[in-house]
């Protein structure tokens, strides 16, 4: 059944089937064979304690624009283990004739993982996850981009993830990089979009909330909230929630994310100002 399911004549192909390695702990006897991900619950730290970070800390962000010279606008973002590049092309001609008559331009966002970006290899097949995240990033950017300024044309935003650590945090990082890249490309916007996310661990009503969760923290969480907003206008672009959370909790978490977004906005503004200064100095 599995025959040729991974076969693609456009690529160099490996074996029909392969699996990530299984590990055992060297101290213990071989009986302790276990999957890489499944740690015994006793080895875990207390579930409500965050390891190495304060509950409301956001991992430091490195952002730089213009690192892809062949694109009109680009940005590279690094946040702890997360690394992604973003390029903006356009406004350029659209392929489909339908959108040609539109008064507004088309914004398309495509997010893609490199095959080595996650602990388990992502085979380069069409992945539903990539499309889901692309739409989320698009939802955040759409309210900011003045699509009426490029009628009948399209702006393409491509995000390529070199390493990801936490899905919600990745979306927020991608949104920040993409809005910086859009600004770098000179696409008219109402403001920069930045995002922040939070999760809640432990029992309902008691557990702490952690901002900017990494992969492991997101897996342990009971539920989470992500907010993307335009701090310059004081508006929210998009909000999403998952898991089991009370209405009050969602409210609290969204508020905390929003105030954190103001700080992130300063980071993005500083980066863009510096790149604008560099550009002026050059010409």
């Amino acid at each position: 059944m599995s025959t040729l399911i991974n076969f693609d004549r456009r690529r160099v192909n490996g074996p029909e089937k392969s699996a990530p390695p299984l590990y055992f702990d060297d101290d213990d006897d071989d009986d302790e064979v276990e999957e890489e991900d499944a740690q015994p619950s006793s080895a875990r730290p207390s579930p409500s304690q965050r390891v190495g970070r304060a509950p409301s800390s956001v991992r430091p962000i490195f952002l730089e624009t213009g690192l892809i010279p062949s694109a009109p606008g680009s940005a590279y973002l690094e946040q702890a283990l997360t690394k992604l590049v973003c390029a903006v092309y356009g406004p350029r001609q659209l392929k489909s004739a339908v959108s040609m008559s539109s008064e507004r331009g088309t914004l398309s966002v495509s997010l893609k993982y490199a095959p080595f970006a996650t602990p388990a290899r992502k085979a380069p097949l069409r992945d539903a996850e990539d499309r889901r995240l692309s739409l989320r990033v698009r939802a955040a950017l759409a309210p900011a981009v003045r699509a009426e300024s490029f009628p009948k044309a399209g702006v393409d935003v491509f995000v390529h993830v070199l390493q990801g650590d936490g899905e919600d945090a990745l979306v927020c990082a991608a949104v920040m990089a993409a809005s910086a890249a859009l600004a770098d490309a000179g696409v008219e916007m109402l403001g920069l979009v930045v995002g922040c996310c939070a999760v809640r661990v432990g029992l309902p009503g008691t557990g702490p909330r952690w901002l900017d969760p990494c992969e492991e923290e997101q897996r342990r969480a009971r539920g989470g909230v992500g907010v993307t907003c335009l701090p310059a206008l004081g508006t929210v672009a998009d909000l999403w929630q998952w898991g089991e959370l009370s209405l009050d909790e969602v409210d609290e978490m969204a508020d905390e994310c929003r105030s954190k977004c103001d700080e992130l906005h300063h980071v993005a503004v500083k980066v863009l100002l510096e790149s604008a200064k560099r550009r002026l100095g050059r010409s």
């Binding site: 456009r10 160099v12 490996g14 590990y23 055992f24």
Partner: protein, 286 residues
Amino acid sequence: MEDPTASGSSSTKLDPEIYSRIHPRAYLERFLAASYRPSGRTPPSFRPVQIHTGSISTADGSALARLGDTTVVCGVKAELAEPDAGAERRGWAVPNLDLPAVCGSRFKPGPPGEEAQVWSERLWELLIENEVISLEDLCIEPGRSAWVLYIDLVCINYDGNAYDASVLAMIAALRNTTLPKARWDEDKRRVVCSRKERVPLQVKNLPIPSTFGVFDGQHLLADPSAFEEPLLDTIVTVTVDDAGRIRVQLAGPACVGGVDGLKVVGQCVQAARARRKEVLGVLDGT
């Protein structure tokens, strides 16, 4: 030096950037008449190489290689599979180059295009025929289990000659790769790996490619850029390995405008030998 972009006879001033887009051929010709290229390089000069290794922690080995502005990231991930019948003692190496839409406006999202397909195939040939790694080394238990090295390359900025940059990224990533110490457990009938002990992958040969382009049958341009590439008649890649073995790959006619093709290849081989030393210096520095 006279400004090669200044138009001589015509009285209308044309912006050099626009000129390069409308008449790329004439634009390049004017530069070459003054023995320079639009980037400021001379025809036989290569772009500087930069290599960084080990920055992607989700991979078993990784590297970023830059050739001027062309940037390629390579990540190696190891998985386990049962060897094929007839090749019980061999593992797999699976190199694939992706030229995603991020890296340039002419690349579209979707399955690999022609260039990516051809270069992936050539990377595989290089690995096997120049014995960069030995597939026998990847065997854990003959007929039972062997490593599969998925060598994925992503170009994040395309400015010509992505093949040379890819080979550098691939070799640097392989030299950065460590595999968990693994053994076959007969009772459990599967491979168990040590969480703590890792063994470096043996890289046995360092074939270094150098690519040249022939423009207008008379100019030999080393390490062509994205602007120059579409204007070239012929592209020559010369790969020199540790043993001094040479592989020449030609795309396009060998003889253009009365120039002796063999003489051109001879020049390329000489330049490739010198370039290899330079590149090895950078590789060893990482």
